[in-house]
């Protein structure tokens, strides 16, 4: 399988994972390890910034793992830029998952604030991965301001509803010049495989692993599903045949 490039970073694994909702940090570590995920998002607000032995971070110290700090909790572009700078200083990485969701119920991203913040953060040297609605025009606008990827949602965060936005995701994947990471809503390995078969460059999964009765086994199932989906995409799926044969020759005039 081909490597994934996001900005200057390359990844073997196309499964990005999260750190929320696990019953314990030990379980989180075990699940992430078995998933072989190389990019793990962590909410800045959950990290004890002044504590070098912060418990979450301690469980993520692994040579394979890159941290992807996220701005979850901010409600405006201004707050996001501030949070991003704190994250960069504390975690020593330019990678940033930009999340601005002022709506506390469905955690749906604010497109206007996100675009503004993305533009500013790119100028400040961040490798920006914005979490957005599955909106093809917004994704092109973000690409234009220089984001390293786009992360459209499949369904609301934590909803496990799968790829409700599938037709829009299809357009985003077709048009995008930067990697497309399907984020949010992926509730089962089959959803992840579906996204990868469509040509998504990666998926980000958190809740479906963390709240499973057996997070470690579920993490492994997602790893396998993402690999299977990617392999199928690269091998190219056999197409359904919709072809209709013409009843009268259309090209007789060429004879």
């Amino acid at each position: 399988m081909s490597q994934l490039k996001v900005g200057e970073y390359t990844f073997q694994s196309r499964l990005f994972t999260g750190t929320g909702k696990f019953a314990s940090n030990t379980l989180m570590e075990e699940a992430i390890n078995i998933s072989e995920s190389e990019l793990v998002t962590v909410a800045l607000r959950r990290v004890e910034l002044n504590n070098e032995s912060d418990d979450i971070l301690r469980h993520l110290k692994h040579p394979r793992i890159n941290l992807l700090p996220n701005t979850s909790g901010v409600r405006t572009a201004k707050e996001a830029v501030f949070a991003a700078q704190l994250a960069r200083e504390a975690l020593d990485t330019n990678l940033l998952k930009l999340e601005i969701h002022p709506d506390p119920k469905y955690l749906l991203p604010d497109p206007i604030e996100t675009l503004q913040a993305a533009e500013e953060l790119v100028k400040l040297g961040f490798v920006v991965l914005p979490y957005v609605q599955a909106d093809p025009v917004l994704c092109k606008r973000l690409e234009e301001v220089g984001t390293a990827a786009v992360m459209p949602l499949g369904a609301p965060i934590g909803s496990n509803q799968g790829l409700q936005t599938k037709e829009m995701l299809r357009i985003i994947i077709e048009q995008s010049k930067v990697p497309v990471v399907v984020d949010a809503g992926i509730g089962a390995p089959s959803h992840a495989a579906d996204a990868m078969e469509m040509g998504a460059d990666a998926v980000l999964v958190n809740t479906a692993v963390a709240v499973s009765p057996n997070p470690v086994q579920m993490a492994k199932a997602f790893k396998m599903a993402v690999e299977a989906g990617r392999m199928a995409y690269e091998a190219q799926l056999a197409q359904k045949n919709y072809g209709a044969e013409a009843s009268s020759p259309l090209t007789a005039f060429l004879d």
């Binding site: 010049k177 209709a244 259309l250 090209t251 060429l254």
Partner: protein
């Protein structure tokens, strides 16, 4: 990100490798391309390949159905207005070449308005302005003046003239310019210079990057293409499609059009190096439609009646009619020297009737200059 250019992307491909990979496509590759939900550039290669010559009927059915789904049964009509045959280039295949000893004419504003009157009486709203490439005689300043003068008469103005700077395009767009056609002629970087030995046009990269300057200037539509007959048409068309793909992804607010100029007899003595016959041109047009459902495909009066009448159902979306390809040809001069000879000399009215008789609608107006502020 939009930092790279198509010139760089183009440079990462090897002409000969691409040519060989097209000619190596098999029957199975063509069948796969014909049932693909979303054909990619490899599928396009298969559809262009010699192997696809046995699949023209299947390609025609698919191309027709995709075109009707996207465009309905409609054909857009436009007419070219040749403003000037002055040219500082020496393109070896062109009747306007600086090296040809022909009478050079650049229409005055008054003459242009005489031409416009005849064109308006024929019913046209979409006008294509054409000039040779001669900055002094018919460069930016001249075009700007002409567009200002004729703008009230037409709802859509397009140009096929020398490549210009981004800031020049911006000014013309402000005046109401909607579409710009710039053909690379050939995407074969090594051979390009042998066809364009002198003049501004001999700069391959400058011409290739015209799409970027137009995209940045915010143009509504860009037309690209290669001159069929110069180099291997299959390989050149692959690069045209690669260019289209790049522009669509980068300048995604812009619409695109492909034209199919095919070398015809003219005043010079140039004969096509790689002749493209009717079957092959039909194959090419249908391959584009299957590859890209949205792109406009345009067929000029260089092509014969029979070919145009049939192809308008098989992928084509725009046609010229009643064209005169010499400056002043509609009203001012009876006989000057044309750039290429017209194969379909029916009147716009006759072509309109032909289109309607096939159950298609002729679209005379599909834009309004008021939409550009």
């Amino acid at each position: 990100m939009t930092t790279s250019s198509f010139d760089q992307e183009h440079a990462s491909y090897n002409w000969e490798d691409i040519r060989q990979s097209i000619y190596a496509k098999t029957n199975e590759d063509v069948e796969k391309a014909l049932i693909a939900n979303k054909p990619d550039l490899e599928d396009f290669k298969a559809l262009l390949s010699p192997a696809a010559e046995d699949h023209l009927e299947g390609m025609a059915a698919k191309s027709r159905s995709i075109t009707q789904q996207r465009f309905g049964k409609t054909i857009q009509m436009y007419i070219p207005l040749y403003l000037s045959n002055a040219c500082a280039n020496a393109c070896v295949y062109c009747g306007f070449s600086h090296d040809n000893d022909i009478k050079r004419i650049t229409l005055t504003k008054k003459q242009v308005l005489e031409e416009v009157k005849v064109i308006k009486d024929m019913g046209f709203e979409h006008l294509l302005l054409v000039t040779g490439e001669h900055p002094a005689a018919c460069g930016f300043d001249y075009l700007k003046e002409i567009i200002e003068v004729i703008k009230p008469n037409f709802s859509l103005i397009s140009i096929e003239v020398q490549p210009m700077l981004q800031k020049e395009y911006e000014q013309l767009i402000d005046l109401g310019l909607h579409t710009v056609y710039v053909y690379q002629e050939t995407y074969n970087r090594e051979q390009y210079k042998s066809y364009h030995p002198r003049g501004k046009k001999s700069d391959f990269s400058y011409r290739l990057e015209t799409g970027e300057r137009l995209g940045r200037a915010g143009i509504h539509k860009i037309g690209i293409g290669c001159l069929l007959g110069l180099e291997d048409w299959r390989t050149d068309s692959f690069f045209t499609a690669l260019h289209l793909d790049y522009l669509e992804k980068t300048y995604w607010r812009t619409k695109y059009s492909i034209s199919f100029p095919r070398l015809r007899p003219h005043a010079g003595a140039f004969q096509p190096n790689h002749e493209v016959n009717d079957r092959q041109l039909a194959q090419l047009i249908m391959a584009y439609r299957i590859f890209n459902p949205d792109v406009d495909l345009s067929l000029s009066t260089r092509e014969s009646k029979v070919f145009r009448d049939n192809m308008l159902q098989l992928g084509v979306t725009a046609m010229s009619a009643g064209s005169k390809t010499e400056p002043g040809g509609y009203a001012v001069y009876n006989q000057a020297l044309e750039q290429f000879s017209v194969a379909d000399d029916r009147s716009p009215d006759e072509i309109n009737q032909m289109i309607r008789s096939k159950g298609y609608e002729t679209i005379w107006k599909d834009w309004d200059s008021g939409m550009m502020g």
